[in-house]
């Protein structure tokens, strides 16, 4: 390899770098929405998470102050989201979406549980959660837990949450950063897919119908699954 050719490659590299920076700059200056990435690409049926992912073996507290586990919901599909009530911007959007999903399912919604798990247990008491979720639909479940249980639950769905420092003097005025997918669990108790924020309601509805249809057969196929597809399967 002679030095002339190396020099040429370096030149190409430098030009490539400049082009990349300039293009990135152009994108930033002309399309801030693009750079912010707030518009996810709709994924028909949601992002599959492997057909046989388990759900966490955790006990949460529901809106009536009773213990609730994912096992309790087996036999029904579960449409799940993480959020918190002191979230007036994003959370009402996916709570409204849940209501629309339920309406679109019609009588099939009897076989579906809709659940908000609050990642803000300090402010979201069962009473506060009950007021909040039932304002969207009387059948909606609100649940939360202590921090350790919540961490385990959220992580099992590949999610994260983080309570932010209060910006002002009021220690009760803070926001919580959290993963904002809608998660779909089958009637067999296996986590099937997740839908990015902003996914059209119709896509979630067809995902729910798919898992309801597959509900009866999945216990047989489960035994044939490879453990490699379930890295975070609960014990």
């Amino acid at each position: 390899m002679d030095t002339k050719s190396d020099g040429f490659k370096v030149l190409l590299g430098v030009i490539g770098g400049i082009v990349a920076i300039v293009v990135f700059g152009l994108v930033l200056s002309f399309a801030p929405e693009l750079a912010r990435g707030t518009q996810p690409t709709p994924t028909p049926g949601g992002i599959s998470v492997g057909q046989y992912r388990g759900v966490p073996n955790v006990t949460l507290i529901d809106q009536d102050n009773r213990p609730i586990t994912f096992d309790n919901l087996r036999g029904r599909a579960v449409v799940l989201a993480f959020g918190y009530t002191h979230c007036p911007d994003v959370c009402p959007l996916f709570m409204s979406d849940m209501r629309k999903i339920k309406q679109a399912l019609g009588s099939e919604s009897d076989k579906v549980a809709f659940m908000l798990i609050s990642v803000d247990p300090k402010r979201d008491t069962p009473e506060a959660l009950k007021r909040y979720v039932t304002a969207f639909d009387p059948s909606f479940i609100g649940a939360t837990a202590d921090d350790a249980t919540l961490q385990k639950t959220v992580y099992a769905f590949d999610g994260v949450y983080e309570i932010q420092k209060p910006t002002g003097n009021d220690p009760n005025s803070y926001t919580v950063a959290h993963t904002a997918f809608i998660y779909l669990i089958g009637p067999d108790g296996k986590w099937k897919s997740k839908f990015p924020f902003g996914t059209p309601v119709n896509a979630v509805v067809s995902g729910v119908r798919d898992v309801l249809r597959a509900g009866g057969t999945s216990n047989t196929t489960m035994k044939m699954s490879s453990p490699l597809t379930s890295p975070l399967q609960s014990p």
């Binding site: 040429f8 190409l12 030009i15 490539g16 400049i18 082009v19 300039v22 293009v23 700059g25 152009l26 200056s29 912010r36 990435g37 707030t38 009530t85 002191h86 979230c87 007036p88 911007d89 994003v90 009402p92 959007l93 709570m95 409204s96 506060a128 007021r131 909040y132 979720v133 039932t134 304002a135 969207f136 999610g159 994260v160 932010q164 910006t167 002002g168 005025s173 926001t175 950063a177 959290h178 993963t179 904002a180 997918f181 990015p196 924020f197 902003g198």
Partner: protein, 151 residues
């Protein structure tokens, strides 16, 4: 390949320079702010908070910034931005306010820029309006009627 790269880079540089060069020429005069389509979702489930959305337009030649808001119906108001990163949603206060570019507009909308309307002193019903007073860096104050409605 080489010529194509240089050509593309050249075009991009020219475009960028042109874009930057044209910017300062518009930044003369004063800001001229108007607001339209101001709305809030009704607070859900007894929550004493909501968010306000609107389009803030600046037809003046000078940029301005929304720096503070007050209202008779709320004890605390902040300008926030929701950002998404790998599916994680995060709301953050904009401590330096929200810049409104010269001859441009900024849309406050769900999952983006919004005004946090907190410590509500009364219920807000669908169909009613409430007032916000917007204060800008230029000193301009603008009263806005916000309609309470579903999105």
């Amino acid at each position: 390949m080489k010529f194509k790269s240089i050509f593309v880079a050249g075009l991009a540089v020219i475009a960028l320079v042109a874009c930057n060069a044209s910017a300062p020429s518009t930044q003369t005069g004063t800001s001229d702010i108007t607001v339209k389509d101001a709305w809030s979702r009704p607070p859900m489930g007894g929550m004493a908070m909501t968010a306000a959305y609107m389009v803030i337009e600046n037809t003046g030649g000078s940029p301005d910034a929304l720096v503070s808001i007050s209202s008779d119906v709320a004890g605390s108001l902040e300008i926030h931005e929701t950002k998404e990163n790998n599916g994680v949603m995060q709301m953050q206060e904009l401590p330096n306010g929200l810049e409104i570019p010269a001859n441009g507009s900024v849309t406050l909308k769900p999952a983006s820029y919004h005004i946090m309307v907190m410590d509500l002193k009364r219920e807000l019903q669908i169909g009613e309006t409430y007032k916000l007073m917007l204060r800008f860096k230029s000193g301009k104050e603008l009263p806005v009627d916000v309609t309470v409605r579903e999105p």
